[in-house]
Amino acid sequence: MARVKSQKSQKRRKTFVRFLPIYILMLPGLIYLFINNYMPLPGLVIAFKQYNAGKGIYGSPWVGLKNFEYLFTTSDAFVITRNTILYNVAFIVINTTLAIAVAIVLSELEGKRKKVYQSAILLPNLLSTVIIGYLVFAFFSVENGFINNTILKALGKDPVSWYSEPKYWPFILIFVSAWKSVGYNCIVYLATLMGFDKSFYESAKIDGATRWQQIKYITLPLLRPTIIMLTMMAIGRIFYSDFGLFYQVPMNQGALYSTTNTIDTYVYRGLLQMGNVSMSAAAGVYQSIVGFILVLGANLLVRKIDRDSALI
């Protein structure tokens, strides 16, 4: 019995030694993860305390779930959860579709033109969201904006007060997000596309396949693993919103909260405008829990559809 055990441990040691270089490679990443993602975890208790900086995190009195109450006494929790999830679902569907379409179009182009187009599409991604916010403002400003002054005027319609009408903002934000991120998103797809064996397309052409048929029956099936992987990664972040997009682009307008407030902007406003650390932490905990459930749920779904692509 003892011999079997020692044999086993010896074997284990051998494998450990064999894989040592890989473990060492992993080390910096693990240290980073530990410092950045594990060390702050004890801070979660703030959400359950009435935080007082004078008494410190551990000296502050416990208050149970009291810090969570304000989320649920109003419709706040519902609104921010709904906004965060629906926007991200829309972003995943629309931005992925657009990215693939643009990648396919770009892959058909050749030479210098391709570089110019690709750079032009990528450019918005390099802009700060604050600047994008003002670009949007240049279009939608009620008095001096392009849309009210040029387009609506030409159509003979009344100017619209864009920054006080929440109903328009889902469309505006989705458009801005697509415009901003399509260039970046299509890079991975484009790289994958360039690696496809050209002989598939050549033989398809000989068989008389049209462009559309080539895309439908060759390109898209080959892209499938990439699409699933990138979508999974996006779903993993479905409960996190692009803060700049939701805070800067609507210019932090109170009247637009019903369609632009997401969990991240809510927590930010809560902490920095109202200065209540505990309640912001409570909203953060809520975000983590719902996010965790969503990731596991999405993974479960993917595993049912395509076992190999699931993460766990």
Binding site: M39, P42, N276
Partner: protein, 516 residues
């Protein structure tokens, strides 16, 4: 093996998704050690260079750190280094970001030794435990013995919350002329309006003001007549916002201690109706809620003619300096000291201070040393200002409002404005007049009352969220007050507004009982 690596990888992904809230909460932990490191580093430096302690003094100005901040800082240090063994580092932020920056710095326990609670709420600071007790170890009595005499013991006591002193009031215009409108004089000349009084602040009725606006709009249809800001409603009201928030207020200059819901009051309805009317007439820019440019800048740029301000002796010169145009100040309501005025903008020592004694010594200097007070308010004599033959201060030779390296027009925020030079364009007896102004104003009956919001923290946050959502559209007159106010009020009631009002009622009654 592959599985194991995969498992660790998965675990780390999970961790990523878990960490978001941790990072906001835990940051105070990690930076605590950080600032401790810093303090040991600085204390070793001290030992090297003698007994001088270096403190960080934080306050806002409208536009952020002036160009000559370091020069002024050096000039202050030249005085304080020898006299009290303290060197300061001025940490100045623009007014718009000050609240956020301060909250962030305090929650991360970054060192701030002296903090002006201007734009950053004194109440929040106390509730979150960011401010230290100034009586602890007789800090005030030992290191700031002259402060009480400079500002008055009554005013100091007015800053106590539940008996604990967290901040020191400044000597300034504690009263506020309510219902004041600043209008650029050139436009008044344009419509041929003649000011019928020699007073610095012209008293008129609201109807007369509306009449002036109508004429201005007719004469200058391309210019914005009036631009509201988030503070306009309370400046243009006679309410006492107990505890620094408008959820449960006293009406009629706080003359009776009956806590009411502001949003159901006639005053609020009339106010919003007036602004709605302004909007219908096109007085207010449709971009007013999105455009966060300071009103002074808009007047300077020549696109705006009028805005709301708080009246006080010297306001005309102050606003004229601010906008670069001659301003006329009108007042429609009375001068008033509300229950939150005295403790409205105190100077504090946060718990993240590393040198509390030095901080108090420095504050003592600010309250009593005219040289330090002048440096803070006007900069360096000869560089930024000079004293004219009439004894009033003015820009130094070759310096103007536009290129001065220290021209923040925030003298009122500094601990003791009464020690400083009077600026040109003002009455040479400005500070005497200011004291009279403070004495003659109507005083709220709740003066001295401080609200402890611990029991209703949840409701306050929820109601504040609703207010944030509706404030600009209702108070800037973008929606019909008939429907807008009711909608906001209903939502606030759901969020717990009544509970806040009841709590204020109870606390006020208890306070009244104790102070009979």
């Amino acid at each position: 093996m592959k599985k194991k690596v995969a498992a660790i990888f998965m675990a780390s992904i999970m961790a990523c998704s878990m960490a978001a809230c941790g990072s906001s909460g835990g940051s105070s932990d990690s930076s605590k050690t950080d600032s401790k490191d810093k303090s040991t580093a600085s204390s070793t430096a001290e030992n090297g260079s003698g007994e001088v302690e270096k403190i960080i003094v934080s306050f806002p100005t409208w536009t952020g750190a002036p160009a000559d901040t370091e020069k002024v800082q050096e000039a202050i240090n030249d005085i304080t280094r020898d006299k009290i063994g303290v060197e300061v580092e001025l940490s100045i932020t623009d007014f718009g970001s000050f609240n956020q920056n301060t909250t962030l710095a305090l929650s991360a326990n970054e060192e701030i030794d002296v903090l002006a609670c201007v734009g950053f709420s004194y109440q929040t600071g106390i509730q979150q435990g960011y401010l230290s007790d100034l009586d602890e170890n007789d800090l005030l009595a030992t290191y700031g013995p002259d402060i009480a005499e400079a500002v008055g013991q009554d005013n100091i006591d007015a800053c106590r919350v539940n008996g604990v002193l967290y901040g020191l009031p400044s000597n300034r215009d504690i009263a506020q002329g309510r219902g004041c409108a600043a209008i650029a004089t050139e436009y008044l000349d344009g419509i041929g309006y003649e000011v019928k009084s020699d007073d610095e602040i012209v008293k008129i009725s609201l109807d007369e003001l509306n009449d002036i606006y109508a004429q201005l709009h007719e004469k200058y249809p391309d210019k914005e007549v009036y631009r509201p800001t988030t503070g306009s409603m309370s400046q243009f009201s006679n309410v006492d916002s107990l505890g620094g928030n408008v959820f449960g207020v006293l009406l009629d200059y706080g003359q009776n201690l009956d806590v009411v819901n502001l949003f159901e009051s006639d005053f609020y309805k009339n106010y919003c109706a007036r602004l709605y009317d302004y909007n219908q007439k096109g007085y207010i820019s449709a971009d007013a809620s999105t455009d966060t440019t300071a009103v002074g800048e808009l007047v300077k740029a020549g696109t705006l003619m009028s805005y709301t301000t708080g009246g006080k002796p010297g306001i005309k010169a102050q606003e004229t300096t601010l906008t670069g145009r001659d301003m006329t100040i009108f007042q429609t309501l009375d001068d008033y000291i509300s229950s939150t005025s005295v403790a409205g903008m105190p100077w504090t020592i946060p718990i993240s201070a590393q040198h509390k004694e030095a901080a108090m010594k420095f504050l003592n200097e600010c309250y009593t040393n005219a040289d330090v007070a002048n440096l803070l308010a006007w900069g360096i004599e000869g560089t930024h200002y000079k004293i004219g033959d009439d004894g009033l201060a003015t820009y130094a030779d070759g310096v103007a409002a536009s290129n001065s390296g220290w021209n923040h027009s925030m003298g009122w925020m500094m601990p003791n404005q009464f020690l400083t030079h009077v600026w040109e364009g003002n009455d040479p007896d400005l500070w005497t007049k200011m004291k009279e102004f403070n004495t003659n104003a109507k005083v709220s009956k709740a003066s001295g009352f401080s609200f402890d919001s611990t029991n209703v923290a949840n409701e306050l946050t929820a109601v504040q969220n609703v207010y944030n959502e509706y404030q600009t559209s209702v108070e800037y007159g973008f929606v019909d007050p008939e429907t807008g106010i009711a909608e906001m009020n209903d939502k606030m009631m759901t969020a717990g507004l009544q509970k806040i009002i009841d709590e204020k009622k109870a606390q006020l009654a208890a306070w009244q009982e104790a102070n009979k």
